[in-house]
Amino acid sequence: MKSRLTALIAGLGIAGSLLVVSTGAVTAVTSPAGPAGKGVCATEATAARTAPVTVAALRAFGDCEINRRFATLTDLSSKITNSKVMTSGHASTLQGEISSTRSGLTSLKATIDSETGIPALKLDIVKIAADYRVYLLVVPQVNLVNGADGTVAAGAKFGDVNTKLAARIAAAKAASKDTTAAQKDLDAMNAAVTKAVGLATPLPAALLPLTPAQYNGGTAGPILNNARAALVQARDQLKAAVADAAACRAALNAL
C-alpha cells in the first residue's frame, strides 16, 4: 500500500515535471522576437492594411517590425559573443555592422514615431526592410561567417588528430605491422579536411563586405547562395573526415 502511494506520488512528480518542461518548450517556440518571429507583427500588419488606414496603425506596424529586428540583432550579437570559433576580426566587423544597423533603425523609428502623413509613413516603413536587410543579409552573414570560421577551426583540430594518428601509424610500422589501411584512411581524412578548409576560408572575405544596397541591386544574393552551397560542401567533407579518422583509429586498433 505504502509502495503504491510512493509510486503514485513519484508518477505525479514525473508528470508534473514533464508538464513544466513541455510548457517551457511551448514558451520557447512562441518567442515574441528574433529569427523565428516572422508572424510577430501579423496583427499590426492586418490593421495597417485595413481601410481606413490610419497614422496610428501604420506607426504601430512600423514600430513592431523595428522592435522585431532589434530582438534579432540582440540575438545575433549574443551569438557572435558566445561563438567559440569566430575570429576576433570577423566578430568585430559583424558587431560593427549590427551596431550600425541598430542605430540606423533607431533613427528610423524616431522618424516613424514623429511622422504625421500617411504617404511618408508608408515610405518609411518600406525602408525598415530595404535599407537594412536584417533577415535577408545580416542574419545569413553572421551565420555563414560563423560556419566558415567553425570549419577552419575544425581543420586545426583535425591537425592535432592527424599528428596523433600519424605517430601511432609510425609506431605500428616500426613494430613491423601492416599500416596500409590506416595510412589510407588518414590520407583520406587529410584530403577531406584540406577540401573543407579550402572551401570555407575565402567565405568571410566575400560575405563581410556585403551591403543592403548590394542585396537590393541583386549582387549580394548570389554571393550568399554560393557561400551557403560551399559551406554545405565543407560540412560534408568534415563529416567524411571524421569517418576517415574513426576508420584509421579502428584499423590501428585491429593491428
Partner: protein, 126 residues
C-alpha cells in the same frame, strides 16, 4: 535523581562502547581491504593479458602519452609523470584520441547549425 544519573551514565558508557566497537570494526575492514589489495596487485600486474599488451604495444603506449602531453590545453604534466599514470592503469583509461575524434562531431554540428541559420528562408523573412 541519583538513579537517573546512573542510568544515563550506563547508557553513555554503552553507547561509547558501541562506537568504539564500530570504529574498531571499520579499521579492521580497512586493514583487511588494504592487505588484500596489495596482495592482489602483484598477480594482476603479471597476468598474461596485461603482459601481452605491454609486450605488443611497447612503443604505442608511451607514444600515446607523449601525444597527450603534446596537446597544449589538456594537461600540463610532464611526460615522466604521465608515464607513471599510464603504467598504473593500462587498459581501463579511455583513449583521449577517441574523445578528440568525437569532439570533432560537435564542431561539425556547429557548422551545420550555421548552415541552417544562414538560410534566408528560415531566418524570419524581411
Amino acid at each position: 535523581m541519583s538513579t537517573t544519573r546512573e542510568i544515563n551514565q550506563v547508557h553513555r558508557q554503552a553507547s561509547s562502547v558501541t562506537r568504539l566497537a564500530a570504529v574498531a570494526l571499520l579499521v579492521g575492514i580497512a586493514v583487511i581491504g588494504c592487505a588484500r589489495h596489495d596482495g592482489a596487485a602483484t598477480p594482476a600486474g603479471s597476468t598474461p593479458a596485461a603482459a601481452s599488451i605491454q609486450v605488443d604495444q611497447t612503443t604505442p603506449a608511451p607514444a600515446q602519452v607523449a601525444d597527450d602531453t603534446a596537446a597544449p590545453a589538456d594537461s600540463a604534466s610532464p611526460s615522466p609523470s604521465s608515464d607513471a599514470v599510464a603504467s598504473d592503469a593500462p587498459a581501463a583509461t579511455p583513449d583521449p584520441l577517441d574523445s578528440e575524434i568525437n569532439a570533432l562531431n560537435n564542431l561539425i554540428n556547429g557548422v551545420n547549425g550555421s548552415v541552417s541559420g544562414g538560410d534566408a528562408g528560415t531566418s524570419g523573412g524581411e
